[in-house]
Symmetry: C2
Subunit: 481 residues, 2 copies
């Protein structure tokens, strides 16, 4: 078992093959495993626990924004799914369809939900009768199925876990405010919990959600220079309401169609965490989502006095609400354990040996730097919370600096292509014309408009350097996952 | 809106038509709604919040029992599903099957999971190599699909929410201990959280789970005299492990098959809560799972001084961790609100009017008794927690007394049939022969063996009064949902 070899040797170097490095980390850190059904994955305890932390945090925030949780079926009758035209066209090619139930062929096949706008619209049609029934702010935590040809753990798969909020409001203003408020919650999740800075803004006409009037998004930049869409919120207008016959008696005693929003983030966030923070030794987890925040490795696990001191620190950290693990396994060497918890991205490691004990000291090692520091044993419990905060801040700063260093301006197709090929995000004037965007995508080998910042300067007299047509926005372009 | 009529008039009386009363409560208390796909339901916020309380409690308890959460796919390839013969026969008639993905016919159809033994067995086959990898105690919270012909909200439906634990151990003893420990957790959930007493024990050969060696169960008695199976734990032996090729290198350096368990409870528990505690005025919720534990109804919501006093109490209760709601809606009368929160089963109602305020008093009404009591305003915050505990204790006692009063002894088919027809649970000697049980079921119009208590007296010389064959156990018989 313990051959002295660093377990991490099994990971491909990040610079050598980023894709293989990513998959290696997913597998070796035991975040997931490939399941028996092609394209599906098993979320293992260590990976799922990260999702639980994200979920617990967001669930509190959604409730603070007035949301209630519900659960709607995992199937949508095909006949209903076909009602909102754009929506169908966006999703139909990716659906998994059930055609047999209880041994008999179904007269109306059932689509395994790829997203639940249709089901929420049908529920709201029954629930909402008067303006007094508004707003409705419902959310559900569930999985959705998208029949993808090529899959990658957490990034793209046949099934992923997510939350989907679906809301109705009386006015466009309230609905847009909801979509923007939740976008800000996602941005705060990035800053305070995941240590990931996002580019935020709205989507271009080409990139918005099937059936939406406006789509807002958080986009993160990966080390390979590709953007990863990490979450979206949508202002759906009144289109779904009209397609599904949702109407209510308004304040003016007339029937009105409500304004709708939807919003979601998924287990794709785990993919973002892996790529943004990981290194050649494996995962580097932000302390707020780490299933194990502190690991204590006693150098001699059979030394009674040592283990007593270790137990005391463990107890103190647990009382302070820290997720701590003591690894007292006698069949593995300390070196093996160091490599193991490095690989698993545990933010803080505490090493204590008999000599440390006699000197009243402990060695602490931050995962981000892997530098060894000495600390008085008696201070460990009281200092760990602020150490974890420091680690979070250092991770966020590093990621923020990286993002800032990778944004350049482009003034035409050549400079845009060069920037994207070199792994930069390019800021360029855009006419928001789908034809222009299709042309850009073709000519740059996959570059798309990732986000249009909310704050825009005057576009008077400015043109798209690609089409020559009047520019509408200064937008971010990048290649994307 | 407010015509002075008690909203509860809309509920069918329990004595008149129990089935209709049940459905009325589900709908009018806004626990669920029928979804657009036949047989499926929408879990609405008030119903889902009850499930969230149950889930949060159990999740902590499972983790205290060493469990980790995972998430496995919602589909099982048909070819794999067919590996464990008994298991297939038990579930195949109820499956929903997907045959198309991304517009193409699937070569191996995908069964929407009715339960996940097959997926966990396949995962464990990959994860478990050595006795050092044991035990494995994994749990998942998800939904499962059973293609049922007749459905009833929370009791039987095409899709329900549940948790399923799946574990592997080295020895039968450890595995059985796990199945029994979790059964005890379920029993404690009943006693401490749901205020429902369960009959516990193991299942007869006829009634055990498809593929299990032993099934343990919690059974509750409904007011209509039918038993409701509320949860089960299974000792699966080594059958699944052998069928799916799970083996590990044991301590004796030989390949061994692990001993497996599985266990689950579902949203059916919500059905049990409704039936066990509900009355002609609607729901009666046990305080521990009530989404709103205390509702405050200010008699004059536009009286500033009154609303200030109300806000102070609300604040104090929130600080004490109580789920409190103030209904200050000026468009509804106090009488309408009283009926509304009675219907919704809120355990404790506090009424405060201007006169109460001037006298320094509040009126409190427990949902279980509907009697009005007077209480000093200044004591409300400090007394509510113990009041809620009293209410829980009273509900548990009432349900326990009811159960005790409905158990009788039977000494043959006639007395058994009479007892079951009159809505009793009958205790009778049983030979545990499936033929005898099929005969009993036929002759009593549906009576089955619900549970066999763990503690048994000697069966020497005793026989089944139905078959005349040697008795194995003294068992509980009842009609069941």
């Amino acid at each position: 078992m313990d051959n002295g070899k660093r377990k991490n040797d099994a990971i491909t170097a990040r610079g050598e093959d980023f894709t293989k490095w990513y998959t290696d980390v997913c597998r070796k850190a035991e975040l997931m495993d490939y399941s028996v059904a092609k394209g599906f994955i098993d979320y293992l305890p260590y990976g799922f626990a990260i999702w639980e932390e994200i979920r617990n945090y967001l669930d509190r925030r959604f409730k603070a924004n007035g949301a209630s949780n519900v659960y709607l079926p995992l199937v949508i009758p095909e006949s209903l799914f076909n009602k909102e035209k754009e929506h169908v066209e966006g999703f139909a090619p990716e659906t998994l369809v059930a055609t047999y139930g209880g041994g008999e062929e179904l007269s109306d096949p059932l689509i395994i939900r790829p997203t639940s706008e249709v089901l929420f619209s049908n529920l709201y049609k029954r629930l909402v009768k008067s303006y007094r029934d508004l707003p409705k702010i419902y959310n559900q935590w569930c999985s959705v199925v998208r029949w993808e040809k090529t899959t990658r753990p957490f990034l793209r798969g046949a099934e992923f876990l997510w939350q989907e909020g679906h809301c109705l409001f009386e006015t466009e203003e309230e609905a847009r405010k909801n979509a923007e408020d939740i976008l800000r919650e996602y941005e705060t999740l990035g800053r305070d919990i995941l240590a990931i800075p996002f580019l935020t803004g709205f989507k271009s006409t080409s990139e918005k959600f099937a059936g939406a009037v406006s789509t807002y998004a958080i986009e993160a930049l990966m080390p390979d220079g590709k953007a990863l869409q990490c979450g979206t919120t949508h202002y759906l207008g009144q289109g779904f309401a009209r397609a599904f016959g949702i109407s209510y008696l308004g304040r003016g005693n007339k029937l009105e169609a409500p304004h709708q929003t939807s919003w979601g983030v998924s287990t794709r966030l785990i993919g973002a965490i892996i790529m943004v923070h990981g290194d050649d030794n494996g995962l580097v987890l932000p302390p707020m989502v780490a299933p194990v925040q502190v690991v204590i490795v006693p150098i001699k696990p059979n030394d009674g006095a040592l283990m007593e001191a270790v137990a005391e620190i463990e107890e103190g950290l647990k009382k302070a609400g820290i997720r701590v693990k003591v690894d007292a396994d006698t069949t593995k060497s300390p070196g093996w354990k160091f490599a193991e918890y490095e690989m698993k991205g545990v933010p803080l490691r505490i090493e204590i040996g008999p000599r440390d004990l006699s000197e009243g000291k402990a060695v602490i090692v931050r995962r981000v730097s892997e530098e060894k520091e000495s600390m008085a044993l008696k201070d460990v419990v009281s200092l760990v919370p602020s150490l974890l905060r420091d680690i979070h801040a250092a991770m966020l700063k590093k990621a923020t600096d990286f993002l800032a260093s990778r944004i350049v301006d482009a003034d035409g197709l050549d400079s845009l292509k060069k920037a994207l090929d070199e792994g930069y995000v390019a800021r360029m004037l855009h006419d928001d014309d789908p034809d222009t965007e299709a042309y850009i995508k073709e000519k740059t080998g996959g570059g798309t408009c990732r986000a249009i910042p909310f704050e825009q300067e005057s576009m008077e007299g400015k043109v798209s350097p690609v089409s020559g047509k009047p520019a509408k926005y200064l937008a971010y372009f990048a290649k994307a996952y």
